[in-house]
Amino acid sequence: MASTSCSLLRLQPGSTGSIHRIEGMNPILQRRLADLGVAEGVIIRLKGKGPFLGPITLECNGQLFAIRRKEASMIEVNVS
C-alpha cells in the first residue's frame, strides 16, 4: 500500500498516522515527547483541535497529551 507523509496537522481529527520524522523541534519539548513515547515509527492519533488556534490533543500509546500547533506541524506522519 502506498503511503504518503504529511504534517500531523493534516490528519482528520480521530484518525491516526505513524510518525515519519520529527524535525526542528525545541530540544526540551522533543525530550518530553520522547518521554511520553513519541518517537519515529510510533502510531499517533489526532484527537482534537483546541480553541482560538490553541493546542491540539494527541494520543500516543494510550496517553493523552496536548502540544501547540506550531510544534505539532514539525511532526511528519505517514498515513496509509
Binding site: I28, L33, G48, G50, P51, G54, P55, Q63, F65, A66
Partner: protein
C-alpha cells in the same frame, strides 16, 4: 533505620501509596507534577522511612521537580526502591523501570491502577513481568489501598528483598565503553552501581556528569563516550548514543509487553472521550469553564457559604462571646483582661473564623478540580491566551492552586519546564487572590453589593487574573530574554474524586488556615488590640488617641487619593502584610463590632461603594504576605526578584486604586 524510596512516572499514584503506607498525609491530585519535593514519612509498621519523590520519566531531568528526584538517587543511597508503574501505560512506564533496575538496588515493582487497566480491557500478567525482570511484582490499587498490605509486609524486612540481577545487553560497542568506564571509576569511593553510572554517563545525563566532576577528572570518561558515539555512527547503528541506548531499551520493553500484556480487549477511555469532546470543545470549552467558575462562586458565597457563615457568626457573637463574658465576670477578671479577651481575641480571631465555611468550600472546590483531571484541561483551554501573553498554559495549574494559598502554588510552579516561565509564574502569583483575601471581599460585598455578592467577589478574582496577564506580557517583553515558551501537558483520564480523598485534601488545606487563626492571626489581633488600647496618654485611652490611630494616621494621607484616607483603613494594611486575614481582624477590633452585622453597619458609614471597590482592589494587589515573600525568596534564590515582586505590587495596587477612585469620581459615582 532503612530508607526506601518511591520512584515512578508522574501521576502514577506514588503519593497515594505513600499516604497509605505511612501515617502521614501528603498532597495528591490528578495531574503530572503534584509532588515537587522529596517527602519523608515513617512506615506504619515501623520498618523504616519511606521517601516520596516527584514523578520522573527518566533520570535525565528537564524540570526542577525532576531534578530533585534524580539528585536524590545519585547522591543518597536508599536501601531499596519501590517503582510504581501505571498498569494502563506499561510501555512508557517501563522505560524508567529499566534504568532503576540498572541502579542495582533491591526493587519492588508496584503495578498500580490495575482497576483502571482492567476497565480499559488491558490485562497485565504480573507473573510474566516478574519472571522477565527478576523482581517482585505486586498488583495494586493505591487509591483504595488494595494490595498495599502486601507491600507493607514485604517492606517489613527490606533486607530480604533480593538484589536485582537484571542486565540488558546494549550491543558490543556500548558494552565495551561501559567496561572501560567502570575500569576508570573502579577506585572512586561513594558512587552508586558503576554499570548504572556508566550508562547514565553514556546517555549524557547532566546530573551524573556534574556529580562525577566533583570527584574525578572526567576528561577521560568523556573521551570514551565520544569514541563510542562515533563508532556507532561509523557502523551506521545510530546517530547518537542516547538514541541508541533508548532504542535498545524500547526494543526490550516491546518484546516484554508482547509477552506480558493482553490488549486484545482494549477499549478507549469512554468517559474521558465523551467529557473531553465537550469540555475541551474548540468553541464551548472556554465558556463552559467560565460558567462552571461562576456557578461555583454562586454556591460558595450565595447559596451555601453565606448561610453557614451566618450560623458561625451567631455562634461566636452569641453563646461563645456571652459565655466568655460571664465566665470572666465570675473569675473577677480585670478590665484589661476582659477587654483583651473579648475585644481583642474574640473580636479579632472570631471575626476571621466567621469566614471558615466559605474558605473550606473554596478549598473543596479546588480539591475537586485537582482530583478530577479537569485542571489539565483548563491549561489546555488557556494556552493560546497565555501564549500571547508570553507564558504557557501550564502556569494555570499553579494559578488555580494560588486561589487557595499562594505558598504551595509557587512551589507547584516547579513542574514548569522552562526557567523563564517558572520565574514569571512565581512573580505573578501574588496577584492570584488567595483565600486570606476572601474575608475582605465578603465583608465589603455584603455591605455594598448584597444582591450581587458572587459577582462582586468573582470580579476581584478576574481582576487579579487580568492584571497577571497584562503584567506577564510586560515582564516577558522587558525583563526576560525573548525565548519562546513551550507547552506540553499530559491529560490524565477523568475520574470521580473519592469522598475520602476530597475531604482529606480539603481538610489539609483548611487546617493551615485554622492554624494561622491560632497563631499569626491571634498574635496580630492581640498586638493590634494593645495598640488600640494604649496611647501616649496611658492605657484605656479613646481609640482616636491610641498608638494605632497615630500609626494609621501617618499612612492615611497617602491613601487619601484612593478614597480611604482614614487612620482606620491605614492601620489595617501593615498587619495585613503578616497575613491578609488580619485586615478583617483589625477592622473588627477598631470598630468594636460585636458581630458581623455591627461591623457591616460601621463600615457602611466610613466607606462608600466606590471607595470600597478601591479598597478591595488595593487589598487584592498591594503586597504578597510574609509567607509568600519567604517562598518567593526560596524558589527564586534571589533577593532582587523578591523585592521586585513586592515593589511592583505596591505600585500596581496604588495606581489601580487611584484610577478606580478618581476615575469613578469623574464619572459621578460615589
Amino acid at each position: 533505620m532503612s530508607s526506601i524510596a518511591l520512584v515512578g512516572n508522574p501521576n502514577t499514584g506514588k503519593t497515594s501509596l505513600f499516604n497509605t503506607l505511612t501515617s502521614s498525609y501528603e498532597y495528591v491530585g490528578n495531574w503530572a507534577g503534584v509532588t515537587v519535593e522529596k517527602k519523608v514519612g515513617s512506615l506504619k509498621n515501623g520498618a523504616g522511612k519511606l521517601i516520596d519523590l516527584p514523578g520522573i520519566y527518566s533520570l535525565h531531568p528537564l524540570s526542577r521537580d525532576e531534578g530533585v528526584a534524580a539528585q536524590y538517587l545519585i547522591e543518597e543511597s536508599p536501601e531499596a526502591l519501590i517503582n510504581i508503574v501505571d498498569a494502563s501505560q506499561l510501555e512508557r512506564n517501563l522505560l524508567l523501570t529499566l534504568q532503576l533496575l540498572e541502579y542495582g538496588k533491591p526493587t519492588l515493582l508496584g503495578l498500580n491502577m490495575i482497576d483502571v487497566a482492567k476497565a480499559r480491557g488491558i490485562h497485565v500478567n504480573a507473573e510474566i513481568l516478574q519472571a522477565h525482570l527478576g523482581i517482585t511484582v505486586l498488583p495494586l490499587v493505591a487509591r483504595t489501598g488494595k494490595g498495599t498490605g502486601q507491600v507493607l509486609s514485604i517492606l517489613e524486612k527490606s533486607s530480604a528483598i533480593p538484589p536485582v540481577t537484571f542486565k540488558l545487553f546494549y550491543g558490543e560497542v556500548v558494552e565495551e565503553a561501559i567496561s572501560s568506564i567502570i575500569k576508570e571509576l573502579q577506585h572512586t569511593p561513594g558512587l552508586p552501581t558503576l554499570r548504572w553510572v556508566a550508562l547514565q554517563l553514556l546517555e549524557q545525563n547532566p546530573v551524573i556528569l556534574q556529580f562525577l566532576k566533583t570527584r574525578v577528572d572526567t576528561s577521560r570518561l568523556l573521551t570514551i563516550c565520544a569514541a563510542c558515539q562515533s563508532e556507532l555512527q561509523i557502523k551506521k547503528l545510530a546517530l547518537t548514543l542516547p538514541q541508541w541506548i533508548r532504542s535498545t531499551r524500547m526494543d526490550y520493553i516491546r518484546s516484554l509487553c508482547d509477552a506480558a500484556l493482553d490488549t486484545t480487549a482494549q477499549k478507549p477511555h469512554n468517559l474521558t472521550e465523551r467529557l473531553d469532546s465537550l469540555l475541551t470543545h474548540r468553541f464551548l470549552g472556554l465558556p463552559l469553564f467560565i460558567v462552571f467558575m461562576y456557578a461555583l462562586f454562586k454556591t460558595t458565597f450565595d447559596w451555601v457559604g453565606g448561610p453557614l457563615s451566618d450560623l458561625v457568626d451567631g455562634l461566636i457573637s452569641g453563646p461563645i462571646s456571652d459565655g466568655t463574658v460571664s465566665m470572666l465576670q465570675y473569675l473577677g477578671a480585670s478590665n484589661f483582661t476582659h477587654a483583651l479577651i473579648v475585644d481583642g481575641i474574640i473580636g479579632g480571631v472570631g471575626g476571621v473564623l466567621v469566614f471558615v465555611p466559605q474558605i473550606f468550600i473554596l478549598f473543596l472546590i479546588i480539591s475537586f478540580l485537582e482530583d478530577s483531571g479537569y485542571m489539565a484541561r483548563v491549561c489546555l483551554l488557556m494556552d493560546s491566551t497565555m501564549e500571547r501573553m508570553g507564558l504557557n498554559g501550564k502556569a494555570f495549574i499553579p494559578f488555580i492552586i494560588g486561589f487557595g494559598c499562594n505558598v504551595p502554588a509557587i512551589m507547584a510552579a516547579r513542574s514548569i519546564e522552562q526557567p523563564k516561565d517558572r520565574m514569571l509564574t512565581t512573580l505573578l502569583m501574588p496577584l492570584m487572590s488567595c483565600s486570606a483575601r476572601l474575608p475582605v471581599y465578603l465583608l465589603f460585598a455584603a455591605v455594598f453589593f448584597p444582591e450581587r455578592q458572587a459577582t462582586a467577589v468573582l470580579s476581584m478574582y478576574v481582576m487579579g487574573i487580568v492584571f497577571a496577564l497584562i503584567l506577564c506580557k510586560v515582564f516577558s517583553k522587558y525583563l526576560f530574554k525573548n525565548e519562546s515558551s513551550i507547552f506540553i501537558i499530559e491529560l490524565p483520564p477523568y475520574r470521580l474524586p473519592q469522598i475520602k480523598t476530597l475531604s482529606r485534601s480539603t481538610w489539609e488545606k483548611g487546617k493551615g488556615f485554622l492554624r494561622k487563626a491560632g497563631t499569626i492571626i491571634l498574635a496580630g489581633s492581640v498586638i493590634i488590640w494593645l495598640m488600640s488600647y494604649a496611647g501616649p496618654g496611658g492605657f484605656d485611652v479613646a481609640m482616636d488617641n491610641s498608638f494605632l490611630a497615630k500609626f494609621g494616621g501617618m499612612i492615611a494621607p497617602l491613601l487619601e487619593p484612593l478614597g480611604f484616607g482614614t487612620w482606620q483603613a491605614g492601620s489595617t494594611l501593615v498587619p495585613g502584610f503578616l497575613a491578609k486575614e488580619v485586615v478583617v481582624s483589625t477592622m473588627n477590633i477598631i470598630y468594636h463590632a460585636p458581630d458581623s452585622a455591627g461591623l457591616e453597619s460601621q463600615i457602611s458609614q466610613v466607606f462608600t461603594p466606590l471607595s470600597s471597590i478601591s479598597f478591595m482592589a488595593f487589598i487584592l494587589l498591594y503586597i504578597p504576605c510574609l509567607a509568600t515573600v519567604g517562598v518567593i525568596k526560596k524558589e527564586t534564590a534571589s533577593w532582587k526578584w523578591t523585592f521586585f515582586s513586592m515593589g511592583y505590587s505596591v505600585v500596581l495596587a496604588y495606581s489601580v486604586s487611584l484610577i478606580i477612585f478618581q476615575g469613578g469620581k469623574l464619572l459621578g459615582w460615589s
